[in-house]
Symmetry: C2
Subunit: 337 residues, 2 copies
Amino acid sequence: MAITLKEVAIRAGVSRSAVSRAFTDGASVSDKMRRKVEKAARELGYSPNALASSLTTGRTKLIGLVSNNFYNPIFLEVFDLFTRGLQDQGLRPLLVNLSDETDPAASVRLLRQYSVDGVVVASSTLPPDFASAFREAGIPVVHSFGRYAEMPEIHVVGVDNVECGRIAARTLLTRGYRRLAFLGGPETATSTQDRFAGFSEILTGDGNVGFSHSFAKAYSFDAGREEMLRQLKGTPAEAYFCGDDVLSIGALSAVRDIGLRVPEDIGILGLNDMEMARWQNINLTTIRQPIRQIVACSIDLMVSMLGAPGDSPEARIFPCSVIERGTLRPLPSAGAT
Amino acid sequence: MAITLKEVAIRAGVSRSAVSRAFTDGASVSDKMRRKVEKAARELGYSPNALASSLTTGRTKLIGLVSNNFYNPIFLEVFDLFTRGLQDQGLRPLLVNLSDETDPAASVRLLRQYSVDGVVVASSTLPPDFASAFREAGIPVVHSFGRYAEMPEIHVVGVDNVECGRIAARTLLTRGYRRLAFLGGPETATSTQDRFAGFSEILTGDGNVGFSHSFAKAYSFDAGREEMLRQLKGTPAEAYFCGDDVLSIGALSAVRDIGLRVPEDIGILGLNDMEMARWQNINLTTIRQPIRQIVACSIDLMVSMLGAPGDSPEARIFPCSVIERGTLRPLPSAGAT
DNA sequence: GAACGCGTTGCAACCGGTTGCAGCCGGTCC
DNA sequence: GGACCGGCTGCAACCGGTTGCAACGCGTTC
């Protein structure tokens, strides 16, 4: 069906090597030869078979893009940024959806069969050893949105979730809230654990504040709403730090449904700053993760690993910032006590 | 780095063909041989190179998944469904983001270089000839969310957008709205054109109703909001059929901002029934596209094309239904005139 | 005991490219 | 005129598998 190098060679009246070289830049070919080959190739509609060439060169330009976050709207942006960023580098994302697969070995096997040049694990909920499995298999790997560590085993790009927890706690305190709560995502996710650790670090030992915590079943609207409804049946806290925006929005809807006002009766602080957070009907105060930078940096690291493998793994951590909207009381004015 | 078939053959003390056959089911191999090979393979950690085998077999199990809708939240679900569905069939999605690329030829070339077995174009805004370009290149193709046609050139799966427009018009009429408007997405998208065609088909010639139309710049919150604000400066209609939920939500926020009530002052009808539509803070009445079925059917068609290429293209169209929520007046009770 | 048939195995060519090496060619220098 | 040089080009081997074909071993049949 498709035209091969051999047919181009015949048409141009040259050897197969000549054609091959005409299509690799930097190769030793005269201009005349290159023009001759290109003409024949154009006439036949030839384009080289990337997979065949990968056999000898050892590079496929295929990058495994592995994720299990297909329910979090923020990941639509993540996928957009990754696919475009990789394409700009001449790399092709082979998407792997891990939603119903938890065995790293299976993914490693799959991606090795396709000889991917590298793997990006884009997930805040997969355990760190998932990504490590690729490194052990000798595949360059970057874990985006992964857990921060001083001396990571693999490249990690993301935010320091412990610090996010601290920021959340401080933010709520400076607004004058005193009975606080952490409403996290699934307890098994490292991101949840870390955010909670930072949150409690700040609040523990402060006699003036009390805090509680609970975990929603998933990072979803329904899970957030359900957990908040449960809270409201008891004695709710004055303010909640939710593990994610979509949880926050679920919580928000529960609070309003029951006739309480946000932020007057209950404050809510999200995390991620996904697009919907700024929709006026939602208007969520939240902690922003710099997604663009995280993705761009992940791609940079991947590209540099492809060029020079074996550099020691590092953690690139980006700062988060509070985006002020309508679900927390304003800061008390400067003059007040 | 990776173990090859040859090494396994040496270790097992058999020929390379024997190893190859041990890994293809249906091949003529004795049980004894198969066990011997499998043992050696296990000890070495061998897994066959899918790309190398594709050279001779002509199948890569790679499917190009082409889209340009990386801003519409509904596509997160679409990607989830596609990636899982394809994986379940043993196929691997190679994701192509077309957001800043409009030349079909470039995509065709790219996907041919990677010898994909087939291509799924998942987009409601790409022109039909985009998908046709793949067929012309001899690549099996399915256009999901594409334009309905009696005799399509390629497989099309989706909804009949003209009929959606009719449903929208009838829905608004039965609620008693008389001055109607169509607030579409980009005018160049076939989905926009078709929905508008159906909408006006019903309303044209009815002396009791008037209708106007306008187009937002994109399928986005901001675009919907902006266009609705423009409308509100003039004399707004009583009810708007918006080209998409995310547009509707933008429009909704504009209406509320200006102090008008929905649905009392202005009614809004969306299209898609994306997840956020049912969030209580939004609660959008909308026309639902059966996404799951569309994706499942697309995959079915693809799989059957891979098995038996050359069957004539068909359009598989699924019905849409109105999801009743809070942004349209209720149906007048049966007894009323 | 020879002929036959069948299931299994290995040989070797091939898939579509890449690349080390040797040879060719034209030009330059002595 | 001969030696030398450097840029191009082609040959042939190779990347990691697959597969048509022929050969082999072994049990069955006459």
